[in-house]
Subunit: 197 residues, 2 copies
DNA sequence: GTCTATAGATAGATAGAC
DNA sequence: GTCTATCTATCTATAGAC
């Protein structure tokens, strides 16, 4: 099930949990490259060495912060790929991703907006492939350039907009609805020649 | 006039021009915080000290890279604010920004996607105010949350999508058209109660 | 599990020769 | 204008005491 009630990265907890929450806040505010282990340690009120006890490298912290979102995305993609109709595939991806974004607004922005994260993921994980799967689900087979542009704008825009200050005071329920509306307006324009079976 | 034939940051030139072009490439690929002055110097085949001859600080380089785009944005905003009808204001902003993005795809992504750039601009410039002006032109007075969400998605999405690898092989003319289509689809949904005079 | 201490590398930045 | 040389601060990361 893709829809959960808790955010992917808990705001409170002990040890690693608090560390990841603090790191996420800093990553979202200053960027991964702009965040030092010293800042993370200071935010927790501990020393750098204490941080290194939990994670061996900075990359490990980045991966640990971002991993819950990636796993949820993988679940969403698999769920969507099991649907038979194109419309159901698109709908499953949209509802799943928007729910993920709204539930944890800064995490998705860090995941897809930070170049340092992209760099780490391209080395340590299979995220590019997952990203391609999701894009393929959105645009379908043999997409025209217009659909590719629309889907690119949508995926980037949703992630960044969810974290932006202008939507900060919009409630989860309402934001979800508006984002879904935007997504459908963007993707549903003219149907190509082939009909959906 | 907002539409120019040359990109805002020239690809070739001498001295400062080449420096800014190299810096932009690195900023777009690794992020500002992930780019050291040594990398910029190496890209030019010179030493760090040679870079410091042209610009006193790293922030100065960031500002110099991003400044042409900001100036163009200011021209677009002023041009749009002179229009009398809301529709003309929106159209002027959309055409101007999309032209700017397409003409120099990585520059706008760095300008609005990099947290380090945002940090520098909030200290050294009046970019937040300009950003608010453009947003206000897009959403109009007393915007409903749905319009704010749509405009946020649009502005973030256009910038990031213009630089993305998926649209890299789409020509300028065609990309411009698709982006304009997406923008109009996103912003033009239901009209509020007030009619446009 | 958290600390001190420190290594080793690299960051941004400066002085002054050429 | 571009260089060598160097400074200081900070970075990631490790070793080992408590």
């Amino acid at each position: 099930m893709a829809t959960q009630l808790e955010p992917a990265v808990p705001r409170e907890g002990t040890g690693r949990k608090k560390l990841l929450a603090a790191a996420l806040d800093l990553f979202a505010e200053r960027g991964v490259s702009g965040t030092s282990l010293q800042m993370i340690a200071d935010a927790l009120g501990v020393t750098k060495a204490a941080v290194y006890y939990h994670y061996k490298t900075k990359d490990d912290i980045v991966l640990a912060v971002v991993n819950p979102a990636i796993e949820e995305l993988a679940v969403i993609a698999s769920e969507a790929e099991r649907k038979r109709s194109r419309a159901a595939q698109v709908e499953t991806v949209l509802v799943g991703i928007i729910d993920l974004i709204v539930r944890n607004r800064s995490l998705y922005a860090v995941l897809q907006g930070d170049l340092a994260v992209a760099h780490v993921l391209s080395e340590h994980g299979a995220f590019p492939e997952l990203s391609n799967r999701i894009m393929a689900l959105l645009v379908g087979p043999d997409p025209d350039p217009g659909t590719i542009v629309a889907a690119s704008i949508l995926l980037s825009g949703l992630g960044e907009a969810g974290f932006g200050p202008r939507v900060a005071d919009i409630g989860d329920e309402e934001l979800r609805g508006h984002m879904l509306g935007c997504a459908r307006r963007l993707l549903r324009h003219r149907r190509p020649s082939a009909a959906t079976p």
